[in-house]
Symmetry: C2
């Protein structure tokens, strides 16, 4: 049936290399997830050993899905500092040993398929745009609230990379450079000091240390946004306060972004987006207060729909846009 198959039935392989886990998948041209697998990001093996595991997993997926049908190409998402056009992961701070890894060449040779590399947050944004919460919107930003805060920008229905193929670095937008917390990057008051999983946890720990009232009775080292999310359902003042502060910070950042670009939708994704329901009202109140390019009811701020699959779906959008 291969010969008679339509372009619509084309498949792509996708790889999302994260600091915690690597996700592999087979995705249709339209962004439908056909099969996925994942494994924990090895902290010990060299990048060479890791890429071997990735290739094995991808081949396994491909064989199981349809051994007779060749995927058109491979899309790779990676964190940290990458050079997409050269296919190199220059440095991935959360994956020890990953420095100057020519990931595109390695994986392309291992799979005997053309491959493209892109920033993981950009793939996430492309995924939500193709088949998730941003579907149907030409001008969109996606923020990923994870260990840090990433971003991906869709303008006129295309991923925007800018002059240095590094756009949408929203995590280090200076939000409160005068009295904000010190960021992991060494700067003061970056957006992610308040809105990343790490930032929200820091806010919670400050609350704990101050001795203010809270329903949380566990040890400080076990506090995280998922825990606070459960407590927020019980109206825990600490958790509600943390999500309020995160929501207001996101509202301010989005006000700058919407005022600058006149977008129509923002998608909030990433692991810490589980707290979306506790964040959104504060976010919208602050955004509405500072929005000048549209009325607040003309724009949308929505929760991502695809979760960890978003970058895999995004790989399909990336490869489609590249002509595969």
């Amino acid at each position: 049936m291969v010969d008679g198959s339509s372009r619509k039935e084309d498949t792509f392989l996708a790889l999302d290399i994260g600091g915690t886990s690597v996700t592999c998948g087979l995705v249709s041209r339209s962004g439908e997830i056909l099969m996925t697998d994942s494994f924990p990001t090895a902290q010990g093996p060299s990048p060479a050993a890791m890429t071997e595991i990735m290739a094995d997993k991808l081949k396994d997926i491909w064989t199981k899905a349809d051994r007779h049908r060749r995927p058109k190409a491979l899309g790779i998402g990676a964190p940290g500092w990458i050079k997409p056009t050269e296919g190199i992961v220059v440095m991935a701070p959360n994956i020890p040993g990953w420095r100057e890894v020519p990931i595109t060449r390695i994986m392309s040779e291992a799979m005997d398929l053309p491959a493209i590399l892109e920033n993981d947050a950009n793939l996430y944004a492309l995924g939500e745009w193709l088949a998730g919460a941003g579907k149907g919107h030409d001008n969109e930003i996606t923020l990923t609230l994870g260990t840090g805060v990433g971003g991906g920008l869709i303008l006129n229905g295309h991923l925007w990379s800018g002059s240095f193929t590094s756009a949408a670095e929203v995590g280090h937008i200076p939000l409160n450079p005068w009295s904000g917390a010190i960021c992991g990057c060494g700067r003061k008051g970056c957006l992610e000091t308040v809105t990343s999983a790490k930032g929200m946890t820091r806010l919670g720990l400050e609350w704990l240390a101050s001795g203010r009232e809270t329903l949380y009775k566990g040890p400080p080292e076990e506090l995280n946004p998922a825990v606070m999310q459960k407590l927020a359902l019980k109206k825990d003042p600490m958790s509600l306060s943390v999500f309020k502060e995160a929501g207001e910070a996101l509202g301010l950042a989005l006000a700058a972004i919407f005022n600058l670009l006149s977008l129509e939708v923002a998608v909030i994704g990433g692991g810490a987006a589980g707290a979306f329901d506790f964040i959104i009202n504060h976010l919208l109140a602050t955004l509405g207060e500072h929005l000048v390019t549209a009325q607040i009811n003309e724009i949308q701020v929505v929760k991502g729909l695809l979760g960890v699959n978003a970058p895999l779906v995004g790989a399909a959008a990336l490869l489609e846009a590249a002509g595969y």
Copy 2:
């Protein structure tokens, strides 16, 4: 010679309607200013009376320049809230009586020429891009430091308008929403509370009121950025402090903008850009500290070259892009 003339020799008429004055001009396709005239913005006459004066001035320019050669079209810049695609000035807060004025239709009929309306800061950005400080750069933002702070964004060599034809509203980016000054718009800590001519004057007046040392001996009502610029040459502590604060605020705003869009150049224009030399070092220091999408030496922040002619030159770029 009309018949044998080339497309390169085409001319456009241009109109920049400002709160203080109206500038009219004849511009070549490549952005060369062939002739200009201006008159103070009438505070008394109705929009109808004003448009009559504009039409007379434009006809006069056209006749003087070359009565036999017909300009291809008219580009109109206007401040405030406009609807470019409908050709309507919805509201221009600084020009009394300007509400729901169908300026494009009025001027097009008066001149018997096709006309296009655009936000004045956008035209300013287009002008600096076509023939000024942004020439040769595909990804660029222009900030105009005037009574307020306007902006225009060039992405991939095209004016970026966004979903609601209202992008680059940088003046109301929330810079310091916690402890910033109240903006003319009613919000707190907008960028223009510190970086507009009005904002810089406010900072100077605060300095005066506090009794701190200054070389300024005039009455408070005569203080403005031009006065401070002269005093800064004599190392006046008030003026230097005001320009430092403005520079740092611009550096923070540009950090957010460059990190989001990965631009290569920012042009600083508008009346208060005369203080550029006192602002730039503080601006670059702050921008460099918060820039993550490029090294500070890979990007440029430059002073606009065209001054009040920038929107007229921008009209040529706008009309050329529209196919005239």
